[in-house]
Symmetry: C2
């Protein structure tokens, strides 16, 4: 049930006619309380969609009654008409639920630069409001674009639950947040603590996913708390459980990335700072030559070193070790064991880079560059 | 004849056996004087090949007698043995030509992390020294890796000539220099002026090419002047002619980029600074989603705005205009003319981004992301 597993939440997923396929394309998640605390993080892309501009205002007071999400169109760079569509959507939800439009978050995903069909959208809102129930799975399906499977999660804490759903298969490289994700909990926590927990969790989950280096204009991760469990957990414990939920969703996004044939963990250790480790790992995740080599099951460590040499992180390129699936191919800047000892045919690949410069570390999750990625992104306009 | 067109230069290209195909793989270019002034720029990648480490020392005094270049192996991350191979190569050239090894530049290109066959290399040096003559075309062929055609240029100034050759088809994203290029001139200019002219020229030519976002470990652009024309041109005029030569070589590199089906000019105007214009254009050149859309002949301007929104350049994303082949599809952050009016089937594509923030501009040259790029870089280890 995902977002409707925690007590206090109802959801629906309906077909509003925004997708030409007739598939589910509008999701509504409602917090029935007793509390309506919420937090959200947004894309750091300066090119921001109308729903992002709207939702930034809504979240300011930490109170959210409902979130409405549509696929079938990003409503980004659609001018005043597009912003009015977002506003009208929030007003329609507010009217249906008898709440304030200022407590309704809006998310959109799909093609940039095209107007949404406003009347279809508003009819869909009415249909969704009439279909509310324990339908988290329908909601998770309704936010899919090129996703091949819905992504949901449920984790259990002592006396409370966190549920979640996410979508995202392309433009997968977060700034602060990434893609669309909605997390719900029946824990009783104020908005400020939800915000702190959400930033802790997104920093080490969604923010560490870099599938194709392209940052979306519509990314939003929202956490809503109903307080319906009556349990007020310690922030640290809650944040750790939220990390688990976000990592589990992030791994589902990685596994379903457009056209990918490998899920790649790039582990950097021995860094002077965590930021250095992230920068080094991300430089590899963004190297098309590295990613194409992974597609070819070629443990091409030279492309790893060529990538990390472009960073400003503190390390000596001639002191670095590089391993593929635990076989060390490069030691101290020279060839070590034979490439032939590495088998990269499994979907999961781990690349380990030991910088020998300090004691900090980080992992970035990425995918390979494949014919299918090129095909999907040259044939599909998103 | 390329590098041997200017008076005072001889060259050779031979098959030393470094390439398993038996193709030409070793080039030697010799400056017979009377002057031996030279300048060079190198990759800004911190992961630097042994020939780069060697050549940085050689160029320090501004005097170069010869440059020897091999394909068939990058000699990068090959440890002490690899550095000794570079050193031995320079010594062998010096012995053959009766010059100092400290005046011999070395360049290598090919797979990173594999030892070169030193004895084959040294035999090749002897063969090349015995074959010296007006053989610039052989030299240009001997430095090819995945290049499908040799790249050469000759431009004429008043009383003097500039010739050049270059190689590069992948890892095409320069820091300071890019790929391998050798330029020769019979103009009479001191090393300091050559250095100034070379930096002026590379900044607006090779440095503006960003085919695949991957910076090489072996990039080097060298300019050698023999003074044999007896003409000492004004620096500004010489630098402008050198710009022309470098741009003509750079466009040949773009046209032969691995797997590319489109040559794309990304023109940014209305920037506050030239650096802003470069940053904005480069962000588009590095967007895999944009590049895949170009492969699909899809004028997806939303992906352009999503890319430039990640930069720190000064502009308002909602004031930007985007045109494809002179058809303005986005005006002031909203849809303008129909995508259907744009025909992207020609190999050449121009994307124009008007930021409406200032009066500076820059152009970046890139390519599309194709099935052939993925194929070549997953099947070929470089």
């Amino acid at each position: 049930m995902s977002v409707t597993t925690p007590a206090g939440f109802e959801a629906a997923g309906v077909a509003a006619g925004l997708k030409s396929s007739g598939a589910l394309d509008l999701a509504l998640v409602v917090n029935r309380g007793p509390r309506r605390a919420a937090a959200a993080v947004f894309t750091s892309n300066r090119a921001q969609a109308n729903p992002i501009i709207w939702s930034r205002q809504v979240i300011a007071d930490g109170e959210v009654a409902a979130i409405v999400l549509n696929s079938g169109g990003a409503n980004c760079f659609t001018g005043a008409q597009g912003f009015q569509t977002t506003h009208a959507t929030a007003e329609a939800v507010a009217e249906q639920l008898d709440v304030s439009a200022g407590d309704v978050l809006v998310c959109s995903t799909g093609l940039i630069g095209e107007q949404l069909d406003r009347s279809a959208l508003l009819s869909g809102v009415a249909a969704a409001a009439g279909a509310l129930g324990p339908h988290g799975d329908d909601a998770a399906r309704a936010i899919m674009t090129t996703d091949s499977v819905p992504k949901t999660v449920v984790v259990e804490g002592p006396g409370y639950t966190i549920g979640g759903m996410a979508k995202g298969a392309g433009m997968l490289a977060p700034g602060l947040a990434t893609m669309l994700a909605v997390l719900t909990t029946d824990a009783d926590l104020p908005a400020a603590e939800l915000d702190r927990a959400l930033r802790i969790a997104t920093r080490v989950s969604f923010d560490r996913l870099d599938s194709d280096g392209c940052m979306s204009t519509n990314d939003q991760v929202t956490l809503m708390a109903s307080g319906a469990s009556g349990v007020s957990p310690e922030l640290d414990a809650f944040a750790q459980l939220l990390v688990d939920a976000c990592v589990l969703l992030m791994l589902q996004l990685q596994a379903d990335a457009e056209g990918a044939s490998h899920d790649i963990r790039i582990e950097v250790t021995g860094a002077v700072t965590e930021a250095d480790a992230v920068e080094v790992a991300r430089s590899v995740a963004r190297s098309n030559l590295f990613k194409a080599a992974m597609f070819g099951n070629d443990p091409n460590w030279g492309r790893v070193l060529a990538a990390i040499g472009t960073t400003s992180a503190q390390f000596d390129p001639y002191a670095v070790d590089v391993s593929f699936n635990n076989v060390r191919l490069c030691h101290a800047g020279a060839p070590d064991r034979s490439r032939d000892e590495v088998d990269l045919r499994d979907r999961a690949i781990t690349v380990h880079i030991e910088l020998h410069a300090g004691s900090e570390q980080a992992t970035i999750y990425t995918n390979d560059l494949t014919h299918d990625y090129v095909h999907e992104n040259s044939a599909y306009a998103s």
